[in-house]
């Protein structure tokens, strides 16, 4: 099993969600987050005073997938989330040892 964490533009959430549903991804967790990579934020001006906002609002998706599905899911995210401009985000992978469904204590990939 693999955990896929994708940090994407807020505006791309619906597109990514739809693309993942299309290839059969059944569950996901979505978080509103703030952060920055190379894109260094923007400036806001209030009554002539400048404030630089370097932590930008982003959306983070967390999916835990059977290994067979990972590549398809990654392609779906890459296609749906890309604008080609700086700030499109990143995808991270982590190996997952175990998963348990709380309702019936089912384990392994069947719990996903």
């Amino acid at each position: 099993m693999t955990k896929v964490e994708a940090v994407i533009q807020n505006s791309k959430l619906e597109a990514v969600k739809d693309a993942l549903h299309e290839i059969g991804v059944e569950g996901m967790t979505v978080l509103e987050v703030r952060g920055h990579g190379r894109q260094k934020g923007h400036t806001e001006v209030y009554r002539g005073r400048e404030y630089s906002v370097d932590l930008i609002p982003k959306t983070k998706l967390e999916l835990v997938l059977p290994d067979a599905m990972v590549e398809k899911a990654v392609q779906a995210i890459l296609t749906a989330a890309r604008t080609g401009k700086i700030g499109d985000g990143k995808i991270f992978f982590t190996r997952v040892d175990e998963a348990i469904r709380i309702r019936n204590e089912e384990r392994g990939e069947g719990a996903l």
């Binding site: 806001e44 001006v45 209030y46 009554r47 002539g48 005073r49 404030y51 630089s52």
Partner: protein
Amino acid sequence: MFVLERGKLIGEEEPALIPKLSLVLLLLVFTQPLLPQTASPSAAPTAAPTSDTNARLAKLEQQAADAKSSADNAWMLTSAALVLMMTGPGLALFYGGLVRKKNVLGTMMQSFALMAVITVLWALFSFSLAFGPGNGFIGGLHHLFLKGVGAAPDADYAGTIPLETFMIYQLMFAIITPGLIAGAFAERMKFSAMAVFMILWSVIVYDPMAHMVWGKGGLLNAALGGRFPTLDFAGGTVVHITSGVSALVCALYLGKRVGYPREPMPPHSVVLSFIGACLLWVGWFGFNAGSALSAGSLATSAFVATHFAAAAAAAGWAGAEWLRSGKPTTLGAISGSVAGLVAITPASGFVKPMPALLIGLIAGVFCYWMVAVVKAKFGYDDSLDAFGVHGAGGTLGALLTGVFASSVVNPIFKDTQGNTLPSGLIEGNAHQVVNQLVAVAISWALAIVGTLVILKIVDATIGLRVSEAEEIQGLDLSQHGEDGYHWETPA
């Protein structure tokens, strides 16, 4: 003959009465020849219709006066409500949105507390100190506990409305004025210290200033024989200079907020400020047009001047920052409208529409410069720009009133024969600018000295500032045990 004279007199005041009066005259014409036919030809019956007509005319005059009084009173009660709306929710939202999230309730509570506290003071003695008969500087205790304040008008102030209406209208000004100062010490003053400061400030600075400018026998009163007749229609000196200058003194005395200017402290909700500013704009019609103290054409003139200045100033501020930093901001536009409303306040009942536009435009650009350039240069932490907008805009407005005041709009100065004299500099009365300067100097001096004394007293007794830990925690929790927003609390 007598009837005709009376008719002419009333007709001048109230054109709508002419049809009614001609009816009475017609009645008179028809009843005169009829009566002798039915009655015996003695002296008594011919005298009867004359006295009857006189009685009816007297009744009609009374009804006309009552009608005018009702119309004026309706507008003045509406205006009083509009001015209260400027403090809560107007000012509370305007300031509340400008502070950080953790201080939103503490800031709104400062405005609201004044609605309660100043009202009580006003009822007990403050109205008397401001508007009771006294000397050139302060009223006496003639109206202590509102003694003698009832349905009867006071002809010196407003001859057509109950003195009680005048009292409640003026109270709303006394409430909002100290509320404006709160913008300078936002996010760092103890609630207890704020309450004591405001009570003392209202009595030591506001009441005397209101008496000097608007009270009978006041040193600066233009209509009731002051030594330096000052044109201040709705409170450029009394409200905005006193509060704005006191705000600067507070900002300097209290010092900066923890972390200022290193940490960013942007407004937590320009949306709240936006709603507040729009409520202020609408409420200001009660503030300025209501200061005509009647519902006639002077109120209209002040209403128009007020609106025009606010519009021009919004464009001026937003335009200036557009040129300087590339974008016109929402906060700039609404701040500009408030600056224009401040500047037109003393002038509103004296200037024509074109000077009103000009005053607004100048105020918008000038206050933007004060806030964006001057404040940054000197480094004082006037957190919400109470000085930059009210102190600077009020001073500008008070001086420009002396320049643009027009005797066509408001024939305030008359010679002993009752002929109208010129009002402002543009009409040739250069001396008026000097009088305005005197009033500006007196209000600056009173605000500086009064505020410093009060701050020293409160600082030495209960202390002014919250502790650093409380300031970091925020006023909402540390002063009131509440949190303004619970949006993330689980259901």
